[in-house]
């Protein structure tokens, strides 16, 4: 059984169809990448999977670990082990990073019937993960993402992923706005999370990130459909030639089977 099974997924926002029949399956231990031009539906797919309520699902089915993902609330999906690293992480003034992360971890523990962690047990764990991402301890007590630079925000997303240890992590354009040094640190953090029981879905526009996080499979999403899938070499071809050929073929194509 696949960890994530997307079948013929259609989603609309304000009456516009964005996803027009997406099919994808992802197994434990695998890293897949979804690439596509702007407006192809990449971020919509990521947000639908994280259960953002702005989108209306008009057809299709998604199974996550055998359960109906589309019936879950965002918090349920998170507690079942799904994590979305946001393209635009949200600033939350007034809540410290450490408090936020412990609240999140304890919400997940509670859902699973596990014991909640107090600050004494939690802080050493958090510090250890921060070291991995080369993050200064001052971020512990600062408000979530407030006055963080673009790179710091993305690193903070990966820190959250490292603390929450999801079964499936979706990285939504985590590379956008990062310089090469920050990109390497983030990639290193993600690679450290690779695990036989964890799957990672890397959503990106550019191939560069995939030099550092090498995927098992690459899928090309154009106009709400996956038009081609292949190995890591597919990403290199896209880097060379761009999406031009795919965009023209997508318009006339029938939904990928």
């Amino acid at each position: 059984m696949s960890l994530l099974e997307i079948k013929n997924l259609h989603a609309t926002v304000d009456g516009h169809e964005i996803l027009k029949g997406v099919n994808l399956s992802l197994d434990q231990g695998e890293v897949h990448s979804i690439m596509g031009p702007n407006g192809s539906g990449k971020s919509t797919l990521a947000q639908v999977l994280a259960r953002r309520e702005t989108y209306e699902i008009t057809a299709g089915e998604v199974l996550f670990n055998g359960k109906d993902l589309l019936a879950m609330k965002p918090e349920e999906a998170a507690c079942e082990g799904l994590f979305l690293a946001f393209q635009y992480p949200v600033e939350i003034p007034g809540i410290s990073n450490a408090y936020f992360l412990r609240s999140a971890l304890n919400a997940i523990h509670k859902y699973r019937g596990e014991e909640e962690m107090d600050a004494m047990d939690f802080l050493p764990k958090l510090r250890e993960k921060m070291k991995l991402l080369d993050m200064d301890e001052k971020y512990l007590n600062r408000s979530v993402n407030e006055a963080f630079s673009g790179g710091e925000k993305k690193r903070n997303e990966i820190l959250q992923m490292a603390v929450l240890e999801p079964k499936l992590a979706i990285l939504d354009e985590t590379d956008s706005g990062l310089d090469i040094d920050a990109l390497k640190i983030v990639a290193q953090g993600v690679n450290a999370m690779r695990h036989p029981e964890r799957a990672i879905l890397v959503v990106t526009h550019y191939q560069r990130l995939l030099n550092y996080i090498v995927p098992d499979r690459v899928h090309v999403l154009v106009d709400g459909r996956i038009v081609r899938s292949g190995g890591p070499e597919l990403a290199l071809q896209l880097e060379d030639k761009g999406y031009v050929g795919y965009e023209s073929s997508a318009r006339g194509a029938s939904p990928a089977a």
């Binding site: 994280a50 259960r51 953002r52 309520e53 702005t54 609330k73 965002p74 918090e75 999906a77 998170a78 507690c79 994590f83 979305l84 946001f86 992480p89 949200v90 939350i92 003034p93 007034g94 809540i95 936020f100 609240s103 999140a104 971890l105 919400a107 997940i108 859902y111 408000s143 959250q160 929450l164």
Partner: protein, 456 residues
């Protein structure tokens, strides 16, 4: 309808007159002449103006007809004295001393004056007037302007009791003084006019908490408080006003602060209770180099009306004032923030700042926010800003996507908004008390607003 309103308003006025002449007769034998004059001037002024209407610029957003048309009576006799168990939940853990007032009257049996540093005098204003009027006379009524405020005039007319606090020169009180005002249940509408006088000597430090609560459920009650706070040169004073009365309470309070040279005063207001609340804060920075923080949080739901009227007067050079008020409004609640700053001609190098931020949790909640700057000096810095917003869907989704359920996420975001105000309070028993109160309150609101959105 109009005629009926007029009739009830007339009856209400007649009640004040009866109460006043009753007080005149009973107090005539023992009260000092200066106090008699203070009361007579107050009542004469109230008689001239009556209650303000919405045509009065200072009351534009607050309709007082519910107060004007209710025939309130002073509670003269028959106080139902609450038990110690009744009072227990309202006590402030860690307070240096606690004065309890029931319907405006000091209750010694419920109060506790712990060990205070030498020379500190904390007790009932009525007792102090009776035994030591010379201490009271130089201050009482000297700072309050009864001409521009009918409620201040009315309070002065009925001055009898309240708290008197004197902290002598260079004395530091580390723990707060808790003034607990309890409105008990009555079968007819009642009014009380607590009057507090706080005199902080040069270089002294103290924290004073005024806390208004209701006990039992009865008819409407109006509490019309005036506090005169005299902050001596170089004193450091924190004042808290906590309003948590029930949904039948009207609460009008005026905090008049007179600041000496380099005095540092913080006024913290936390309004969560009451049907109609008017919170007047009026500091006058009279000495050079004074600093004033005017910090507030108001949380309204159902049909609560919470009006905050700030009047910050810069009367000397090199003073700073910072106003920060945050409002959270749900249901049909109506909030008002009126931030007036007057910079007098000689108050050069004034640095005055004002910020009012509001969260509206329902389509029917309302906020009126109004800055009013009057600047007569030419070398000053004055800034003001106001925002009105909702809980951001983005923030909510972000928290939920990390596993935090919706009600908890809302509670977290509301608390984060409120904590901007809490963070400005010094750590200690008073802040802890307020934090617990806010946690409790926002929990109810988060649950209620979620149900509303789901149409439950």
């Amino acid at each position: 309808m109009r005629e009926a309103n007029l009739a009830t308003a007339t009856q209400a006025l007649r009640n004040y007159e009866e109460s006043f002449s009753g007080l005149e007769t009973s107090a005539a034998s023992h009260e000092p002449s200066w106090l008699r004059k203070l009361r007579q001037d107050g009542f004469a002024r109230f008689g001239e103006t009556g209650f303000p209407t919405v045509r009065d610029e200072d009351w534009r957003f607050t309709n007082l007809s519910a107060i004007a048309q209710t025939p309130f009576r002073l509670v003269r006799n028959g106080h139902r004295v609450p038990s110690l168990a009744d009072v227990a939940p309202h006590r402030l853990a860690g307070a240096a001393c606690e004065l309890v007032f029931v319907d405006g009257r000091f209750m010694e049996a419920l109060s506790s004056v712990g060990k205070l540093p030498e020379g500190v005098n904390v007790g009932s204003l009525a007792a102090e007037i009776a035994t030591n009027p010379g201490v009271i006379e130089p201050h009482l009524g000297r700072y309050l302007n009864i001409q521009r405020d009918a409620f201040a005039a009315l309070n002065s007319a009925f001055v009898e009791d309240g708290a008197f606090i004197h902290v002598p020169r260079s004395v530091v009180l580390e723990s707060p003084i808790h003034l607990l005002f309890i409105a008990t249940a009555h079968e007819t509408p009642t009014v009380s006019h607590p009057r507090n006088l706080i005199v902080a000597g040069e270089n002294s430090q103290a924290t004073i908490v005024e806390n208004y609560v209701s006990l039992g459920s009865g008819e409407k009650a109006l509490c019309n408080t005036v506090t005169e706070l005299v902050a001596g040169d170089h004193s450091v004073i924190s004042h808290y006003m906590i309003e948590r009365e029930d949904e039948k309470a009207f609460n009008v309070s005026t905090l008049r602060i007179q600041q000496g040279r380099a005095a540092d005063v913080a006024s913290h207001s936390v309004l969560v209770g009451g049907a109609l609340v008017r919170n007047n804060v009026h500091p006058v920075l009279a000495g050079e180099g004074g600093e004033c923080l005017i910090n507030g949080l108001f949380v309204g739901r159902n049909r609560q009306h919470l009006d905050n009227y700030m009047l910050v007067e810069h009367a000397s050079p090199h003073c700073g004032s910072r106003q920060f008020y945050n409002g959270i409004l749900d249901g049909h609640a109506h909030g008002v923030f009126h931030g007036r700053i007057i910079v007098h001609k000689d108050a050069q190098k004034t640095d005055a700042k004002q910020t009012n931020r509001n969260l509206l949790l329902s389509d029917t909640a309302q906020i009126d926010t109004k800055p009013q700057l009057e600047i007569y000096a030419d070398d000053v810095k004055c800034t003001h800003g106001a925002t009105i917003g909702q809980i951001e869907e983005n923030s909510l989704f972000y928290l939920r996507s990390r596993g935090i359920d919706e009600a908890s996420a809302r509670r977290l975001l509301l608390f984060a908004f409120a904590s901007e105000c809490l963070d400005r309070m010094k750590a200690g028993p008073a802040r802890t008390y307020v934090e617990n109160l806010i946690h409790q309150n926002l929990g109810h609101i988060a649950d209620a607003s979620r149900h509303q959105e789901q149409g439950l």
